[in-house]
Symmetry: C2
Subunit: 184 residues, 2 copies
């Protein structure tokens, strides 16, 4: 039950956002009664925090952190993730945007708990890329690159490109940004 609710909430928050996802909709989509939902998540906020902590963080880990750390280099990892995401968006035909960025915009000013949870994910994401650059440097590459700054640039570029792709409903800008980033 709890898992089913998180599944439905994760998808609905991504597709429609937090405010536009009513608990009634989520209950119907998950096939769950009001009592059951209230039992597992006393308030809508608790549900959203669970989605952030358990699903959004995992999505960033799976989509970005693990592939970058596993790549031959930071730059190669970044390139691979951009291309994989662009390819997937082009295939599915519509762009919902980055789950982390979507929720960050909607919730980070509304509630300090939301803000802290989301900021932590952004921070871990940047840190993973910075660490990979540092590893590259210990292997004799990327000597002129500042790890923190490069990581900030990558995450900002991706987040912003996803924003534009979502607004334009066109993933082309992701490829433009990747190409421009490659000249860094």
């Amino acid at each position: 039950m709890r898992k089913k609710v998180l599944d439905v909430a994760e998808e609905s928050f991504q597709a429609r956002g937090y405010h536009a996802s009513s608990l009634g909709d989520l209950m119907a989509a998950a096939g769950v009664s009001g009592g059951a939902l209230h039992h597992h998540f006393p308030a809508k906020k608790a549900l959203a925090l669970a989605v952030i902590d358990e699903r959004v963080a995992a999505a960033v880990e799976e989509t970005w952190i693990a592939p970058v750390l596993a790549a031959a280099s930071a730059r190669e990892g970044v390139r691979a993730v951009f291309e994989a995401v662009a390819a997937q968006l082009e295939q599915q035909g519509f762009v919902h945007g980055c789950p982390l960025n979507n929720l960050a915009h909607e919730l980070s000013l509304a509630d300090p708990d939301f803000r802290a949870a989301l900021a932590g994910i952004f921070s871990a994401w940047r840190q993973a890329i910075a660490d990979k650059i540092s590893a590259d440097q210990r292997a004799g590459r990327e000597q002129g690159t500042d790890p923190q700054r490069f990581a900030a640039l990558v995450v900002a570029t991706y987040s912003g490109a996803m924003s534009m792709a979502k607004t334009a409903q066109d993933a082309t800008v992701l490829r433009d940004c990747l190409a421009a980033l490659g000249e860094t």
Copy 2:
């Protein structure tokens, strides 16, 4: 009256977002009756479209397009805008984020009219930067730079950096991104 409503709506949409700004709040803040508001804006959507067309577009023009076009070069203009925004955020102590990006996230999937209006602003923003790069090239500079790609990178980086700055409530990431962008 209409101007007063737009003033209040622009600020509230920026500070709290569209959904979280109730018409009751806006009426109270603007000192306007329900009838007056309904007279000028038959629905909340009409108000939001007016804010986007008349205020958000103007803010992008004023903050980004005019300064970049007036600068000695595209890169110098971009640098100046990043620094000006970062300095202003550090001074005021809190980060509401980019008005265009905020509304784009909240509204572009909710309604096609919103999406089209917002996409047009993003497009004009990118085009202005690309045009400036082209002008630089005619003057013998930036020979290796692709105008469209560079513009996409700049706008994406700024938008994403503002997202992170808003979530972290810290403008430092803007300066990190500017520094990394300078090595392009």
